[in-house]
């Protein structure tokens, strides 16, 4: 039971950590100064959220476990984030499409998590909702801008959405930990808002004069710790300092 709660928290927290790291890669490399700051702001929001979750997870794990141990010292297979969030930036269209597809899921998840019987999770969700509402607004605006922009921006954002769509079904998969936590009233039943998500996302895609992909073949595995080849590289950046200088503190 404790083990399931621990895994459940990581399943949510790791999304924020890994996506935060991905966006952080753009620090100093954004397409313009303003967008650079916007992306790193979102990154910091996500890191802040993951810290709250990891602090809570550390108390559940007990012993001398710290939030840093959980964030920095797990092996690749022990990260339980969705495959979607670990996908590389490639170009700005990919970065925005990934953000857009995650944000709307994230917002629906948090709105349900706020109702959790677990007080800490409910409090973290409540605080995060405001941040994520802005993320969803920002990324949705960019989908519409790029879709309605030039022929090149239209093509690029369509390609990005098409190539990331294969990771969207996993958002609604449930692990053993998920199911157990749902039955305890702690976790969120993600299957409940799949239709709402698809409707919301495809409405915005349509508004952007783009096409919602019709793929029926989907990737999965992140929630079980089986990742795409991209996560290992990301982790080697993320974990570098703790691995090279063990126990170093800021």
């Amino acid at each position: 039971m404790k083990e399931y709660l621990y895994k459940y928290i990581l399943g949510i927290a790791d999304n924020s950590l890994i996506l935060g790291q991905r966006l952080g890669e753009l620090c100093g490399h954004g397409p313009s100064l303003e967008i650079d700051i916007a992306c790193t702001n979102i990154s910091l929001d996500l890191f802040g959220q993951s810290r709250s979750y990891y602090q809570y997870a550390a108390t559940i794990k007990g012993g001398n476990t710290t939030e840093d141990d959980i964030a920095f010292l797990r092996k690749e297979r022990e990260y339980l984030n969705l495959l979607l969030v670990e996908q590389p930036n490639r170009n700005f269209a990919h970065t925005m499409a990934r953000q857009f597809l995650f944000d709307h899921f994230h917002l629906l998840l948090l709105k349900e998590l706020e109702k959790s019987t677990d007080f800490t999770l409910s409090a973290i969700a409540k605080k995060s909702i405001k941040e994520v509402s802005y993320h969803a607004r920002f990324s949705s605006d960019w989908i519409k801008r790029l879709g309605n922009g030039t022929a090149i921006s239209h093509d690029k954002i369509q390609i990005a959405i098409d190539s990331l769509w294969t990771y969207t079904d996993e958002l609604f998969h449930q692990t053993e930990a998920d199911k157990t936590m749902v039955s305890e009233g702690i976790g969120v039943d993600v299957t409940k808002f799949k239709e709402i998500y698809l409707q919301k996302v495809s409405d915005i895609i349509t508004e952007a004069t783009l096409k919602t992909p019709e793929t029926t073949w989907f990737q999965k595995g992140g929630k079980q710790g089986v990742h795409t080849e991209h996560l290992g590289y990301l982790l080697s950046d993320l974990q570098y300092m703790q691995r090279t200088y063990p126990n170093m503190e800021w």
Partner: protein, 94 residues
Amino acid sequence: MKKNWPLWEVFVRSKNGLEHRHSGSLHAADAEMALENARDVYTRRNEGVSIWVVASNNITASNPENNGELFEPAQDKVYRHPTFYELPDDVKHM
């Protein structure tokens, strides 16, 4: 980016009751983007409760070359400052 987006001036009100103050400028494709960019660039350390953005080319500015005729005549007219009144002690914040 070969061509820059147009420039916008950003005004932030730090608290209700205070006026909007000029914070700086930024580039954005349109007003909506300017507002979002302003939020991220100028209010990320909790500086504001309200933002105005104005396209910089809508601002008519005085020409520094005319500073002499515009501003210098006011310099020697100290009587325009309300400094010749005796203020009662009870009056604060003047």
